[in-house]
Symmetry: C2
Subunit: 362 residues, 2 copies
Amino acid sequence: MVGFACTNGERFAFPSRIHALPGRYPPIIPYVTTVGELGEFPLIERIASAIDRASLAAATAGGFSLALGIGDDAAAWSLARGVQVTTTDTAVENVHFTQQTTPWADLGWRTWAANVSDIISMGATPLVGVVTLGIPGSLDVTAIDDLYVGMIDACRAYGTLIAGGDIVSSRDVFVSVALMGVCEGELLRRDVAQPGDVIGVSGPLGGSAGGLRVLQRGLMSSDALLTAHRRPTPRVSTGQALLDAGVTGAMDVSDGLVADLAKLCRASGVGARVDSPLVPVASALHESFSDEESLLCALGGGEDYEVLFTGPRQAVERAVASIDGAAVIGEIVTDTPGRVIVLGADGNELEVSDAGWEHLST
Amino acid sequence: MVGFACTNGERFAFPSRIHALPGRYPPIIPYVTTVGELGEFPLIERIASAIDRASLAAATAGGFSLALGIGDDAAAWSLARGVQVTTTDTAVENVHFTQQTTPWADLGWRTWAANVSDIISMGATPLVGVVTLGIPGSLDVTAIDDLYVGMIDACRAYGTLIAGGDIVSSRDVFVSVALMGVCEGELLRRDVAQPGDVIGVSGPLGGSAGGLRVLQRGLMSSDALLTAHRRPTPRVSTGQALLDAGVTGAMDVSDGLVADLAKLCRASGVGARVDSPLVPVASALHESFSDEESLLCALGGGEDYEVLFTGPRQAVERAVASIDGAAVIGEIVTDTPGRVIVLGADGNELEVSDAGWEHLST
């Protein structure tokens, strides 16, 4: 089964020939409406059928080769070259998304894209992942169909594969992806920033947070903010552009610029100063929000999946020149590890304590 | 950081030198009782500190080498030989466990062991994994301490590493592991069983299900059943013993013998006949249950993490002779794919429709 474009996961137990059954996608089973009525095995079959039909392009970087397809306790693959890079990222209902503001297909796209972003920000190429679904038996089957439509869209966009996964019963929906990529050169890291380094970001920020506010408040807005929220598109080329420019310090902005910069600074044992007028703000924010709220979205909103990077000024400026939308936004300084100061246009420090996403706030 | 025994995950953003801070494990922070009060970052620091102190033995099979340690968007490693085998398995509160019947340390052990079992049943050696925790902010910090004590115990027992992970807020607790192993020879598969093959199982079944019943009903029992439920111990040697004997068909028994055999049969397009008097029943079951209930535990109870295997009679008998506690239990037959018939001592078919674990039952 080497080269078979979609593979298997732990609980995916069915023969690959089922994939070839005639019928429309998604298969129509009119008398079944919930995943509980459909049952675990037919649901897995249904998902795998969708993946199989969609996964015509195979991942190829690093001499990637699939050894075992859908239908066993685990998926199997090999890399001929490079270092394997593995991340995991999860979306939980009513924490990271609500059914009111996030269509299922967008949930699938976003969860996959969030993992792709982590791989990119290591300087690696995303390849293959496994998906865990936590779902209540009462969920409509069409929700799962739509979820995989979005996830498969993201797979196609990034040349990646769904290799299988696990389905478990859960009161709240959660979608967890573990994604693997390959790095054939140097790894981009969080722990190499030094005082005197300058800080860059790969593109405009705040669009996703703005889109969420538009949805939550029922505001008027162009499609740009909604698209930024629902279909963030991390760029695979960014990692390579950073390495080509000689930058080796990087992480993705998933929880918010200030919060994530603080993490990078902690990892490197340094502090940072951000000049807020330099921070690229998603232009569509100004259509719906004041300048102040737009800046707050850019400083504190997460899920834009741009890359934050640090390095010597010359290297960072080379990188900024080669990445569309990138900008220099500040400097690494000697300070309490993890302390980030944001300066306003007047040079005074801004209060941004509310910026960023705290995962365990009660 | 090559060779550093514990690595990193997506949201694990802190410098490795924090690991070296003096203090007891787990660090005592007397004025903090819940993970919400402690906060995401200190919780990750606390977990990583525990992992770091414990992970002195590094995974070594397949020329495994760790490229990047804790503190970045992703973990990184390489294999010099073999095929990578990847699985994922998740435990959800009130679905797979309750706080009443499963101490946190046992939850950690069991979730890791369930993934180890999947890797073993592919004929591979488990190496390294990432852990996603879904937890409410109101959870006691000591619960997480205990969870990792159990998971690290399992890591030590199997020579495996926790490479990082993700922490997300969730109303119900869930623990999801994605585990990687290496296979340097042939893979054991579900889809190669043929009519005429005989069926073997690697050891006694039903102990875990019996332990759960003892806990739920407050029955008297020896420790054997409770240990089977709380600390199942899949055996890494089983996969190699099967391959040495010439067996290539296998899967682990996680959802129950009959349910899992049905999956193997579906994957291979065959049916199966099980002779129930041949099924090895965990001996401690008879202390607490009738013969009939003991057999039902063995046929339908999951989570013993023994291996089910199929192959030509001679190969299976060689395997059974080399695996302590293993037995031949039946035969693969031509039938509707996935149909499993269980025969009683009198040769009549038993009704076992309730056997096995359905993940989405409402």
